[in-house]
Amino acid sequence: MMKFAGLLVLPAGFFLVLAALVLLNDPVQRTAFVLCGVAVEGVGLVVAVRGHMLNRGESH
């Protein structure tokens, strides 16, 4: 479940990036929001990888 949760956080970060493009015109604000979106994706990736590590040695 943890891996799925992480994978679902990834699109959330992507939508933040898209929202920054659509809603913000100021370059500084837009850059900050894009960076935040990428950071959220990073968190999602870490959670997904962590979820995979918990399954080590489970079935193979």
Binding site: K3, L7, L8, L10, P11, A12, G13, F14, F15, V17, L21, V22, L23, P27, R30, T31, V34, L35, G37, V38, E41, L45, V49, H52, M53, N55, R56, G57, S59, H60
Partner: protein, 429 residues
């Protein structure tokens, strides 16, 4: 980054020659995939590479190219959002219709993308080596060639929304990916990660207690020779990409080829030094991975940076690669025999970021970030859930007995090296 308009016939003739040389990169990746796997699965691995290339070429040329928008057709599937057009998918002709009458540049675009899709579909196969069967491997390649790669190619290379970030949002020249760092390597590397997650590690790789079991590649000569072949193909591919997507003048091509070589060379030197420092002796397969990582990073940067920057890009990729291989195996429990996740996905991301950093424009850097965000936030989850659904109907992994005797005997009925004696594997006790 949009297709160059009205290239002269002599430039297109050169681009055609370069695209014809680019499959050497495919040959190089195939050889490294086979050499980094085990001897008991070598024939299955190489046959799988060829079968996937064949399926990808047919499906992309007939179906996928329509969504990539390689050949002239409709304007594309456009969504208007925030007052801006977001071109999400191509609307070209299906089944290669109109190819013969299409402009030469469009035909070359299709050929370029065919080489690219073949490279892309080989990456997850290398990571699933020694446990993923031929049929699921081919199904994965088919999905990549029909759905995922065409979308990425349209977004990054065609008239897609990422390529148009410059014109629509003032972000530099739009998402820069002339050599396919994103469209080929990050996409293929993320697909490799999904395959590894779903198929799981090779039997005995990660025991419940203790360290992971070392399973070295069976033929370092294949791997290292594959690196040399890859260099020739990469030089041609990066130069062709610079012509087709960046409007590069002919005078820029030698530097693009030089940057490709510098990046790979610096990466190899860095990996050589890191492995010699850490293990007392340089490691051949890790050095090969370092070389490939330098090539992958050059896909993002070779056409847009100076030679000194290309050396820096390669050095970073070469230092990171052996550390990533250790991190994945020892800390993250990711069994990736070909190293595609570190070499292609992560070095590809680094190459894309470096293209933004060395452009000297904050808008360009943001455009590169948006492209990376699309790959991670859109393609990675979609790849995982689609592959997970596929795995329910066509299990990726062969049965335990097949894995024990080797995929050559299990799937092909004969080995790649019939006169070799296969030693007992301690990990199966």
């Amino acid at each position: 980054m949009t297709p160059a308009a009205h290239l002269s016939e002599s430039v297109l003739a050169l681009a055609f020659a370069l695209v014809l040389l680019a499959p050497l990169a495919v040959a190089g990746v195939m050889l490294t995939n086979v050499g980094l796997g085990r001897s008991r699965s070598a024939a299955q691995a190489l046959l799988g590479n060829l079968a996937m290339a064949a399926v990808a070429v047919i499906l992309f040329a007939l179906v996928g190219s329509a969504f990539a928008g390689a050949l002239p057709g409709g304007a594309g599937h456009i969504l208007t959002l925030g007052g801006k057009p977001w071109n999400l998918a191509g609307a070209g002709p299906l089944f290669g219709a109109g190819l013969a009458t299409a402009p030469l540049q469009a035909q070359l675009t299709l050929l370029f993308e065919i080489v690219a899709v073949v490279l892309c579909v080989l990456l997850p196969w290398g990571s699933g080596a020694d446990r993923v069967g031929l049929l699921p491997g081919i199904a994965i390649a088919a999905l990549l060639a029909v759905v995922f790669f065409p979308l990425a190619a349209h977004w990054n290379w065609g008239a897609g929304w990422l390529a148009a970030l410059g014109t629509n949002f003032g972000l530099g020249s739009g998402f820069l990916d002339a050599g396919g760092a994103a469209t080929i390597h990050v996409l293929g590397g993320l697909a490799a990660l999904c395959v590894v997650w779903i198929a799981g590690p090779r039997r005995g790789k990660f025991p419940k207690e203790g360290f992971s079991t070392a399973m070295p590649g069976h033929n370092a000569v294949y791997v290292l020779f594959g690196c040399l072949l890859a260099l020739m193909g990469w030089q041609a591919f990066n130069a062709a990409g610079a012509l087709l997507w960046l409007h590069a003048p002919l005078t820029a091509l030698p530097q693009t080829a030089l940057n490709t070589t510098l990046s790979a060379s610096a990466a190899l030197a860095a990996t050589f030094a890191v492995t010699r420092t850490r293990f007392g002796k340089p490691d051949a397969s890790l050095c090969a991975n370092g070389w490939m990582a330098g090539l992958v990073a050059s896909s993002g940067t070779a056409a847009v940076v100076a030679p000194l920057a290309a050396v820096f890009v390669g050095l970073v990729a070469g230092i990171a690669t052996p550390l990533l291989v250790e991190l994945f195996e020892l800390a993250l429990s990711i069994d990736d025999p070909s190293g595609a996740i570190g070499v292609h996905a992560i070095s590809g991301v680094w190459g894309l970021l470096a293209a933004g950093i060395f452009s000297g424009s904050s808008g360009q850097f943001v455009a590169q970030l948006v492209g990376i965000a699309a790959l991670l936030g859109f393609f990675l989850p979609l790849l995982y859930f689609v592959f997970l659904a596929l795995n329910r109907y066509l299990p990726f992994r062969v049965n335990a007995d097949g894995e024990r005797i080797g995929l050559d005997l299990h799937e092909l009925g004969g080995g790649a090296y019939p006169e070799f004696v296969i030693h007992r594997d301690e990990s199966y006790r």
